[in-house]
Amino acid sequence: MSEKEIKNLEEIFEQRIARDEKIEPKDWMPEKYRKTHIRQISQHAHSEIVGMLPEGNWITRAPSLRRKVALLAKVQDEAGHGLYLYSACETLGISRDELYEQLHTGKAKYSSIFNYPTITWADIGAIGWLVDGAAIINQVPLCSTSYGPYARAMIRVCKEESFHQRQGYEIMIKLANGSPEQKEMAQDALNRWWWPSLMMLGPTDAESVHTEQSMKWKLKRKTNDELRQQFIDQTVPQADLIGLTVPDPELKWNEERGHYDFGEIDWDEFWQVVKGHGPCNKERLSARVNAWEEGEWVRDAAMAYAKKQEDKKLKKAI
């Protein structure tokens, strides 16, 4: 294709996006669009799968049968989200095995929040309330993103996430209204998860490298700082309502702006965790790699069996 022809296609493509048309797998798309989407969708899928680990850590120790069942179902939903997102990503011409390979070798990233440990039951409440809460704010705009398979996967994901968020908040309500030990456990969890949750909305706009292009392709509708503000404005009253204190002495309602002012985020910590030096980066990745390696003989067996069955059918047909 000549340069002029490509330019022409690109123009038509950008116009389609501007008209809010969905781009489908078989449509022509610029290579950069494909690559950016593979990166973002797979990062999202990996986050779902790695995100199963910190919460999975409490399934066997959940304090009641009702909580155990709810947590199992929640972690299972995340596996389901991983499944649709990997499938959406595969429509861009990359296999699930290649995507796993990128995760296992550290080439692909996942959300850094999952590199923090879950050390008490209240962490399960805090993750649902704050982490899923922040995730929803990030994800709702993606329900109308330009790439069809991603947008459709996100509609389903968001429905379930908002259920998880309520479930997490409900755990926190119960703890906050419980015994002094339970209340302390809830406050401690909020103290530890608050700042990492704010970091989940990404680096400040000044540092964010992908924002402009992502806005154009509707992979993003608001900037990281706008999303972070929205998260804070929404979450602080929820903490107040159950008598927990957000661990930020500078947090204050600003009448003039109509938003909360908040303290400085420790970006050194953010970059430390992103670069692989958080409290659980090694454990999370090695848990994924182990599951994959230890499962290899099982996957091989399934393939070999399927082939034998296929061969038998063929023989019969002949």
Partner: protein, 252 residues
């Protein structure tokens, strides 16, 4: 004559199997060999724990002393759990997970198919609902027995090892405790001894199809139904009960 207490113990006998197997399966959530198997194993854990809750809620109502499903699940001592030894065996590798599941599922389905005819309406209703779930479990585990048995050399070796190791726990499924006998006589419980022949026949069919062999073992293990468990059980309960023991008398 059957007393209330006998019926409660009978219910524990069935429900504890579901609880302990559900707990074992839930250890695997997030660590399965593929996303699809991870989701399927978690589904089975959810079914089993759902059944556990129905049984314990009924047992709590029969006890009528203010105990809840959670008191029953979390606050008994090891000797009071009546599950069979099979279900508490650890997740040594996927072959063990599947073999344990298969051995239990075949029994479980036969049990529920009888229990649905119980004179006790609650147990009959729980059984009817469970049959749908457990039919799927049996299909899943049987299919995997076939895949692993007739898959690769390695998978055959691994699943055969699990079958050989776990076979000795299958006989206990057909033991009747004193409670079981009384509850059966009251036409509420199931005579599990009558299920034995069909059980081994079904197991043999699937193992044959999977090109696996039946272990030549004459000695079987028992004890779970009397609350005499393997050394694995204490650790499983330590995990299960941790929160309730560390923070007694709280609502979650």
């Amino acid at each position: 004559m059957m007393k209330n207490e006998n019926l409660v113990h009978y219910i524990y006998g069935i429900a504890d199997n579901a609880l302990i197997l559900g707990q074992r399966l839930s250890e695997l959530c997030g660590h399965g060999p593929s996303l699809e198997t991870d989701i399927a194993l978690t589904n089975m854990a959810l079914d089993l724990l759902g059944q556990t809750r129905s049984y314990y809620q009924y047992a709590a109502a029969l006890l009528g002393d203010g105990k809840t499903e959670d008191d029953i699940a979390y606050l008994r001592i090891e000797r009071q759990y009546k599950n069979v030894l099979l279900v508490e065996q650890p997740n040594k590798h996927f072959g063990y997970v599947i073999a344990r599941q298969f051995f239990y599922d075949v029994f479980h389905l036969l049990l529920l198919q009888e229990l649905q005819n119980s004179k006790d309406e609650t147990l009959s209703a729980i059984a009817k609902k469970g049959i749908k779930e457990v039919s799927y479990h049996q299909r899943f585990s049987s299919d995997w027995i076939k895949r692993l048995g007739d898959g690769t050399e390695e998978s055959r070796k691994k699943v055969q090892e699990a079958i050989d190791d776990l076979w000795k726990f299958t006989d206990e499924l057909f033991h009747m405790t004193e409670d079981d006998k009384l509850v059966f006589e009251a036409q509420i419980g199931v005579d599990v001894t009558a299920l034995k022949q069909t059980y081994y026949q079904r197991v043999k069919e699937i193992l044959d199809e999977a090109t696996l062999s039946i272990p030549e073992i004459k000695w079987f293990q028992k004890g779970g139904k009397q609350g005499i468990h393997s050394e694995h059980m204490g650790y499983l309960l330590a995990d299960l009960q941790y929160m309730q023991r560390a923070y007694p008398n709280m609502k979650w």
